[in-house]
């Protein structure tokens, strides 16, 4: 026995030793996978980290053509009043001076390939001048301007690169006192120009997919070719106008932008962050995670400056429409402020939520939110199965209490039941986290969201979903029954009830709008075995089996048949606070409309459609921090910024509505599809009143239980196929759903 014990001890020692071997193994992680407690924008193994500062250019995204950095000043080239100009900004994006470039008329010129400011502070750029005459080729020119905007030089590039037609420029890089223009065409190449713009010679780089010019920290220039997912570098020899034969490799990260590094050879921006690249070790080290730092990941480039700083400019940022300027400075680890990490789990992140996460990460000095997506559609063969697996995994993590701190319930609205999560203790009661602000909510939304009298879901803004009809046909009241609907159908038998929709969809909507009458979760009872429900089965049976469209039509492309009067009702799936939808529907229907609603057994067929729906996970050990994120959505700043969706705070909602009516932002709006081209006109008082009334009539959300939907669709299919009567199908649904509800009780 003693011998056995010693043998066992040896075995365990070996196992422990083997497992210990992995402790020192280097992990290859994306920047988004940093461990908790890391400071903002960390680098691994170094003593300095990037500290992020966020600013905005006071300029709309589409106005900016290109930008450059010189001596800590940012040169932003943009179109203004018929010609280009440069707005010179400081490192915070604040305008310092303006340089007009009258030589570059914005009507004809198109600056497209970067800008550079040399040591003499001359501004260099490349522009094209397209022509309407098909026989004349577009002119490409290298331009040099003084700081006063005077044109110092214009070099015609068409004359230099004679056999490159059709061709275009990819890079405009300055190095070794020369300009390098990377172009592609029938044959790719690099045109080399002197510091005065004189053409010196050409470096042939082959045919096919063109590469890019890179410059490392030491100022060496490379031509980078992507070959089977590896980036191969060839040093550019400007003296002999050739590329070196010896190739070097870059680490396999998906590079979008690359610049000389600060401590490393290169800094590369990918879709998710910035990496430091080393040529010697061929390793990529995560340096900045865009999401954690609240940086919009679609960037339009970055520069490293002399004072250990990286300046980065993003594309348009939805929060205020302005372009984001990011300053990343290297500071010692001890000076960097540590942010606590929160994890927001989602099936698949909605852009609206993602934007808010970025905004929160920008604003919060204490926390950063990391989004953990369980389903990413990266070309999986069977999306449905992949989504189901993702939900199963998410549920397993939730049940084990290891998922994270916050949950995006909206992404799961058709896949999981919030009620089930509440019953299993997954979600935290939010009342304690909202500091009484929940009392300011629109009361009927709050009631619709409550489960057993308590609030577990945070819906900061929402749209309304309902059905609209011509007032001349449906009358002026809101709400009608299925009998009313059938009477109207009988009056207009030649017209389609809705523009599109299948039997299955019609039944789904019937459940969505009637679920309060059909399902009582409290008592675990359901009421599908009624003549009324059988009537809805008959209602759904009037719709086609398959969609008339092979693909779901783009928004409103079926408007013409409504416009022509061939369709009775319109499925208004996005009634908004900006009164855009009501004016558009009125325009398409050609007359006054009524929010008649979906035919329902009780009340009005209108539901709340949350834009964002968040919950706090009870397993989180950072509930207070999660609560801060939740409270952010109830802040005046967020609530007052809602001009499309309805904000949840009642007073702000009505204030916003009034403001929108006064401002009448839609008076300039219009809409068109096919032969329809309409302008909206001003918001009318009666339109505001009808939307307000609709809002007051809503009493449930569009959340449905996926199991009940599946059972309904499955059993109704037998009825639709003529294999059962509506009453039989209703009875089957009753039987099975009632068992399901009892199971949940």
């Amino acid at each position: 026995m003693k011998r056995f014990c010693s043998l066992l001890a040896m075995l365990l020692t070996v196992v422990l030793l083997l497992s210990g071997c992995s402790f020192g193994r280097k992990q290859t992680e994306g920047p988004g996978t940093q461990g908790e407690g890391n400071v903002s924008g960390d680098t691994y193994g170094d003593e300095t980290v990037f500290q992020t500062s966020l600013f905005y250019f006071d300029s709309w995204d589409f106005m900016i053509s290109t930008w450059a950095v010189y001596d800590s000043e940012i040169y932003v080239l943009r179109m203004d009043a018929g010609s280009y100009c440069i707005v010179v900004c400081n490192e915070k994006g604040e305008p310092v001076r303006r340089i007009d470039l009258p030589a570059l008329k914005s009507e004809i010129a198109r600056v497209f390939c970067g800008m550079f400011v040399d040591d003499a502070m001359q501004i260099w750029t490349i522009s094209s001048e397209p022509t309407d005459n098909p026989n004349e080729a577009t002119t490409y020119g290298l331009y040099c301007f003084s700081q006063e905007g005077e044109l110092l030089l214009k070099q015609n590039l068409n004359e230099i690169i004679v056999d490159g037609d059709p061709w275009n420029f990819l890079d405009f890089v300055v190095g070794q006192g020369l300009f390098f223009l990377n172009y592609y065409g029938e044959e790719n190449g690099i045109a080399v120009l002197s510091e005065k713009g004189e053409y010196l010679g050409n470096i042939r780089t082959g045919t096919g997919d063109p590469g890019r010019i890179l410059k490392d920290r030491a100022g060496n220039l490379y031509y980078a070719n992507t070959d089977q997912e590896k980036v191969v570098l060839y040093e550019i020899d400007a003296d002999s106008f050739s590329l070196s034969q010896q190739a070097r490799m870059l680490p396999p990260v998906s590079i979008k932008w690359i610049q000389p590094g600060l401590d490393s050879d290169f800094l590369a921006a990918t879709g998710d962050g910035i990496y430091e690249l080393s040529l010697d070790s061929e390793e990529a080290t995560p340096a900045v995670d865009f999401e954690s730092e609240g940086i919009n990941s679609t960037i339009r480039g970055f520069y490293t400056t002399g004072d250990n700083t990286v300046l980065l400019v993003t594309f348009g940022f939805a929060a205020n429409g302005n372009v984001q300027l990011v300053s990343l400075s290297k500071v010692p680890v001890s000076q960097a402020k540590e942010k606590k990490k929160l994890t927001l789990v989602t099936l698949s992140a909605d852009p609206a939520l993602y934007q808010q996460v970025l905004t929160f990460n920008q604003k919060s000095e204490d926390y950063r939110i990391q989004v953990k997506e369980y389903f990413v559609n990266d070309g999986v063969a069977n999306v449905e199965t992949a989504v189901e697996s993702a939900v199963t995994q998410l549920n397993a993590d939730l049940a084990a209490g290891v998922a994270g701190d916050l949950i995006d319930l909206e992404s799961l609205s058709t896949m999981a039941s919030v009620r089930a999560y509440v019953k299993k203790g997954v979600l935290e009661n939010l009342d304690g986290y909202l500091e009484g602000q929940e009392q300011e909510w629109i009361s009927n939304l709050r009631s619709a969201l409550e489960i057993d009298g308590e609030l577990y879901q945070m819906v900061p803004s929402f749209y309304l979903r309902t059905v609209a009809g011509r007032t001349s046909i449906v009358g002026e009241r809101q709400g009608w029954s299925l009998e009313d609907y059938n009477r109207m159908r009988a009056e207009y038998p030649e017209l389609k009830p809705f523009s599109y929709g299948t039997k299955q969809e019609a039944l789904y909507y019937a459940l969505m709008y009637n679920q309060k009458e059909w399902i009582d979760w409290e008592s675990a009872e359901c009421f599908f075995d009624t003549d009324s429900f059988a009537g809805y089965l008959e209602f759904a049976d009037q719709f086609p089996d398959q969609s008339e469209y092979e693909e779901l039509p783009p928004y409103w492309n079926n408007a013409e048949e409504i416009y022509n009067g061939d369709v009775l009702l319109y499925d208004a799936d996005r009634v908004d606070i900006g009164m855009y939808d009501i004016r558009r529907i009125q325009g398409v229907m050609g007359e006054q409309i009524t929010w008649i609603g979906f035919p329902v057994e009780e009340g009005v067929g209108v539901v709340f459609d949350p834009v964002i729906n968040l919950g706090v996970l009870s397993s989180s050990d950072q509930k207070e921090a999660a609560g801060e994120f939740i409270r952010y959505f109830l802040s005046d700043e967020f609530q007052k910024s809602q001009t499309g969706a309805f904000p949840v705070r009642e007073q702000i909602l009505y204030e916003n509505m009034e403001q929108i009516r006064k401002d009448n932002p839609g008076s300039m709006d219009g809409w068109g599809s096919g032969t329809i081209d309409m302008s909206f006109g001003d918001i009318q008082e009666d339109q505001v009143e009808s939307v307000q009334k609709l809002l007051q009539n809503a009493s449930q959300t569009n959340q449905t239980d996926s199991v009940i939907v599946d059972i309904m669709q499955e059993e109704a299919a037998y009825y639709f196929a003529g294999e059962r009567s509506a009453a039989e199908a209703a009875q089957r649904i009753q039987d099975r759903v009632s068992l399901y509800l009892k199971e949940q009780n």
Partner: protein, 287 residues
């Protein structure tokens, strides 16, 4: 003596992988199930005593599932036993084409469950072969899978799938009865019925015990076919305990599921205890 001890130690070492496997995959999950059945939920981990069990016995879905499962056991096990024994007695005789018939009866065991279920669905659906046959002979068609006859479909499916295996066990049992005993009984003028009831049946009691045990185990595996046949929320008549547990697992209701699993476990232990007692009583005077 020393050598024997060393050999014993080596034997334990060889057993170790299996023991570790049993510990990890059977003992630990069983312990976790007991633990889960006694707490409010795995996140708060608040001890609730027997509250989950109390809630379970009040849960209508559980009661329906328990009732259906019990009915299924009561119907399917005796029927399988009788059918398998009769077939074994038949094949004990030198019958023409015996081996081919035996192979045919055993064939359901090797057919994949999913493909079988597709065929069965074609037979038992509302417009399936059986309903059409009924309509052809003048009766109303029956939607077997969605009616109170649903349980019957499961029982038939169980019989079809398992009778062959039980028959083989009975054949082995019959073959192991000492020939001398049968010869003596015949010499002393025992009739066929007396030979069966007084001799064969008595000697088959250990086989009976084993066959019943196997049938109970197999009856809990019918869920797979039932699930493929009707999905996770079938009609009330086909709703079994495994449906209940499977569905509660999917809705993260691990407490209810664990409590149900423990109740099922106790139920099984009670059934097995009775079986052991009967087997001991029946086999006490056997050599």
């Amino acid at each position: 003596m020393k050598k024997r001890k060393r050999r014993k130690n080596v034997g334990v070492l060889f057993l170790l992988p299996s023991l570790v496997g049993i510990l990890i995959f059977y003992i630990l999950p069983f312990g976790v199930t007991i633990y889960y059945s006694l707490i409010q939920n795995p996140i708060q981990k608040q001890f609730t005593g027997a509250a989950n069990y109390a809630a379970l016995v009040k849960n209508e879905a559980f009661l329906i599932a328990f009732q259906n499962t019990s009915i299924f056991l009561v119907l399917s096990i005796p029927l399988t036993l009788v059918a398998a024994l009769l077939l074994a007695l038949l094949f004990e005789k030198d019958l023409y084409g015996r081996s081919k018939l035996q192979a045919a009866i055993l064939s359901p065991m090797v057919v994949p469950a999913v493909s079988v279920v597709l065929v069965w669905r074609a037979v038992f659906e509302r417009n399936g072969m059986l309903s059409q046959l009924l309509e052809w002979i003048g009766f109303a068609g029956i939607d077997w899978l969605h009616s109170r006859y649903g349980m019957l479909v499961l029982v038939i499916l169980f019989l079809w799938k398992n009778t062959g295996y039980q028959m083989i066990l009975f054949l082995a049992g019959l073959g192991s009865i000492p020939v001398e005993i049968i010869e003596i009984a015949k010499t002393e003028g025992a009739s066929g019925a007396q030979l069966f009831f007084k001799v064969k049946l008595r000697y088959l009691s250990p086989t009976f015990f084993f066959v019943v045990l196997m049938s109970v185990i197999q009856s809990f595996r019918i869920f797979r076919e039932g699930y493929v046949l009707t999905g996770d929320h079938p009609s009330r008549a086909m709703y079994l305990l495994q449906h209940f547990m499977n569905n509660t697992f999917h809705t993260l209701d691990y407490q209810k599921m664990s409590a149900a699993a423990m109740v099922l476990c106790l139920f099984m232990m009670a059934v097995l205890g009775i079986l052991y007692a009967v087997e001991r009583w029946a086999g006490k005077d056997l050599e």
